[in-house]
Symmetry: C2
Subunit: 373 residues, 2 copies
C-alpha cells in the first residue's frame, strides 16, 4: 500500500511513525505546509502532487476541518484512491455525498479513529453487524468533557478551573466550543448511528446539549443525590423508529459510566443476541488515534471497504422521555413538569427529549441533565 | 459452510438457532445423546457420522469438558475439518497439541467465545496484534465470581448466601469449584496470554487463588478501607519475562473494575500504542456465547485461522510484588511481612506474588487478596 498522507500534525505524525516500521504499507508523500524533511517520505506542499501520483493507492486524511479536507478527499475518491480518515466532522457532515461516491467507485472508506480514538468502536460495529442487529449505541465519546466533568466531580473544581486545567494539559482547545457544546459528540453519535443501524440520520433532528453552563454547585447537588454527571450520546432504533441525542446525563454513583476517569471514553452497544457491550479506552491523542488509522489501512489491505452499505435517509423521533435536572431558568412549562426540588433546581417528571431540547434552545443560560434510566 | 455441531446444550442450541437464519452457514448434523428432532439438521448419536461426512467442513464443539471433546476435536482436525469451540479448558489444556496440529494442517481453529462469552476479546487481541505489541492482559473473566462478590458487596450477603443465590439463578454450578477456585479464570488467562504474547505459558507456573474463603466481614473490612474485591487475572510480558496469576484483588471504590455489576466481565489490555483498552459484556449465557461461536464461523469464512502463530513454550516468573490482605491464618513469615492491621487481618508490605501463592498452598484456609496498584 502506497499512502499519501494529508497533514503532519498530532495524528499525521503518529501515522508516519507507526507505518515506518511496517512492510505492508508505506507513506510515500506527506502534504504539509511547513518545510520539513522526512527520511522515508517526500514532503509536498501541493495536493495535486498526491492526487496525480498514480503509485499512491490510499489517501490518509489527517488535517481536520471541513475544507479543504472535503475537497481533497472527494478529489481523491474521484481519482480512484481509497480513503482513511480520523475526521468525524468531515464524515458526519458529508456522509450522503462521500459514502455513495466511495461505494459507486468500489473504493474503501474507513474512519475508525473518528469515534473513540484508540478504541476500535466502528470496526466492532462492523463485526457485530455480521451476526446481529444493534438497538442502541452511545456513551462517553468526548475525552475533553469527561476530563472537565471528572475534575469537577473528584477534585471539586469549578467549571472554569477544570476547563483551564484541560487547556493547560492540551486536552481542550483555546476555543473549546466544539467539545463542551457537544458538537464533537454529536458528529460521533451521527456516525455511530448511521453505521450501527445502516441508515443516514437526518442531522437537523439530532439535538445536542453541552456542559458549559454546569457549576460546582450542580455537581455538589448531584453528589448529594448519589449521581455523577457525564456528557453522553444516545442513539436507538426500534421498529423503524430512530432516536438520537446528546446531553449531560446523571449516572448513579457506582455505575460503570460514573467510573470513567480523566479523558477516557466508554462507548456502549446493545446487541440483539450479544447483549450489552462496552468499550473503554483513550478517545484521543497522537498514538491511540494513529493506531486506528493504521488499523484501517490493514483492514483495507484485507479487502474491507466501509462498515455497512450506505443506507436510506431517516428522520429522528425523540418523543421518548427522560426525567431532567433543570437549573438556571424556569417558566410555566418547567413548573408544569416539575416533580422534585433539589436545592432550588427542578427535577422534572418524564418529559419528551425533543420538548426539553426545544425548551433549552429558548433558554440557553439553563443547564439541563437527564437522569439515566 | 457445512457445520457438524457437537452438543445441544445451552451453547449448542444457541448456535443452532442463530445459524438457522443465515445463508452462509448451515448446521447439517448435531451430535446429541437425546432423541430429539430438528427441522433443519440431522440428529446423530455417533461422532463417526460427523467425522466421516465429507460435506462437513467445520466442527463446532459445544459439549464442554476435556473428554471426549478433545478426542473428537483432534480426530476432526486429523480429518481436515476446521474447529470452532467455546471450551476454554480444552484449548488451554491441549494448546501445545491442538494448535500446532491445526497450523500444520492449514486449518482454522477459533475459540472466541471461550474467553469473555459475548465479548469479542480474543478477536480483538488478533486485531491488536496486527499493529502493536501487548504488554498486559487480564481482568474480571468469571461472571459467577463477579456475581457472588457483587452480591456480597452491594447487598451485604455472606458467601454462602451469595453462592446459593447464584446457583438458584443458574449462574453457578452445584459444585462451584471450577468458578470459585479460579480454575475457569486460570484457563482464560492462559489462553489470553498465549494469544496476546504469542507464546505458550508453562501452566504449572501460573497460580490461582479463589474466593471460597471470603467472608462478609472481609467485604465489610474492604469497604471500610475504600475497596471492592474482584477475582482478577493478570498476565504481563516485559523484555521476554512473562508473569501470570489469578487472585482476588482489591480496587478502590470508584475504579472501573469496582463498578462491574452482577455477572458481567471486564477484560483489559495494555497496548504499546493504543494504550489501555477494556471490554465489558456478558461473559456467559446461551446467546452471548453462541454469538461469538457464530462470529468465529464468519471469521473462518473470511479466511481467518488461529489468532496468532503458535509460539514457543515459556516459563512464568511471578517475582513481581503486591501488597496483600491476609486473613484466616498467620505465621512467622506473615508477621515478618505485615505492614498494617485491618480489624485483625494483616495487610502486608510488597511481597513477591510467587511467595504469597506458595504460602497460600500451605495455608489453604486463609483468604488473600492483592491490592491493585
Amino acid at each position: 500500500m502506497k499512502i499519501g498522507l494529508l497533514g503532519f500534525g498530532v495524528v499525521g505524525r503518529g501515522v508516519y511513525e507507526i507505518t515506518a516500521a511496517r512492510d505492508d504499507m508505506q507513506v510515500v508523500k506527506v502534504l504539509c505546509l511547513e518545510d520539513i524533511q522526512l527520511p522515508d517520505a517526500e514532503v509536498v506542499h501541493d495536493f495535486q502532487s498526491i492526487l496525480n501520483d498514480e503509485s499512491i493507492d490510499t489517501v490518509v486524511e489527517a488535517m481536520g476541518g471541513l475544507h479543504p479536507a472535503y475537497d481533497f478527499v472527494r478529489a481523491a475518491l474521484e481519482a480512484g484512491k481509497n480513503i482513511v480518515t480520523s475526521n468525524k466532522a468531515l464524515v458526519a457532515t458529508f456522509y450522503d455525498d462521500l459514502l455513495p461516491l466511495a461505494e459507486s467507485k468500489g473504493l474503501a472508506f474507513r474512519c475508525t479513529a473518528a469515534v473513540g480514538g484508540g478504541i476500535g468502536w466502528l470496526s466492532e460495529l462492523e463485526r457485530v453487524r455480521r451476526v446481529e442487529t444493534v438497538s442502541m449505541v452511545g456513551g462517553i465519546m468526548n475525552g475533553t468533557c469527561n476530563y472537565i466533568l471528572d475534575s469537577m466531580t473528584r477534585l471539586g473544581l469549578d467549571y472554569g478551573e477544570a476547563l483551564s486545567q484541560a487547556q493547560a494539559l492540551g486536552y481542550a482547545e483555546r476555543n473549546p466550543s466544539t467539545d463542551v457544546d457537544g458538537i464533537d459528540t454529536w458528529h460521533k453519535l451521527i456516525l455511530s448511528s448511521n453505521i450501527a443501524f445502516g441508515v443516514s440520520l437526518e442531522r437537523d433532528g439530532v439535538p445536542a446539549a453541552g456542559i458549559s453552563k454546569i457549576s460546582a454547585a450542580d455537581v455538589a447537588n448531584f453528589a448529594e443525590h448519589g449521581y455523577v454527571c457525564k456528557l453522553v450520546s444516545h442513539g436507538t432504533q426500534c421498529d423503524g423508529v430512530y432516536s438520537a441525542f446528546v446531553q449531560p446525563t446523571l449516572y448513579a454513583q457506582g455505575a460503570l459510566e460514573a467510573a470513567v476517569p480523566t479523558n477516557f471514553n466508554l462507548i456502549t452497544l446493545d446487541g440483539e443476541v450479544s447483549g450489552r457491550q462496552s468499550f473503554y479506552g483513550q478517545g484521543a491523542g497522537r498514538y491511540p488515534t494513529a493506531y486506528n488509522v493504521v488499523q484501517d489501512c490493514v483492514s483495507l489491505l484485507s479487502g474491507k471497504g466501509f462498515y455497512c452499505p450506505y443506507g436510506k435517509k431517516v428522520t429522528v423521533d425523540n418523543s421518548c422521555t427522560r426525567r431532567y435536572y433543570v437549573r438556571g431558568a424556569s417558566d410555566a412549562w418547567i413548573q408544569s413538569v416539575a416533580a422534585e426540588n433539589w436545592n432550588g433546581a427542578v427535577v422534572t417528571g418524564p418529559v419528551a427529549v425533543s420538548e426539553m431540547h426545544a425548551w433549552l434552545k429558548n433558554n440557553p443560560d439553563a443547564f439541563i441533565a437527564a437522569i439515566a434510566e
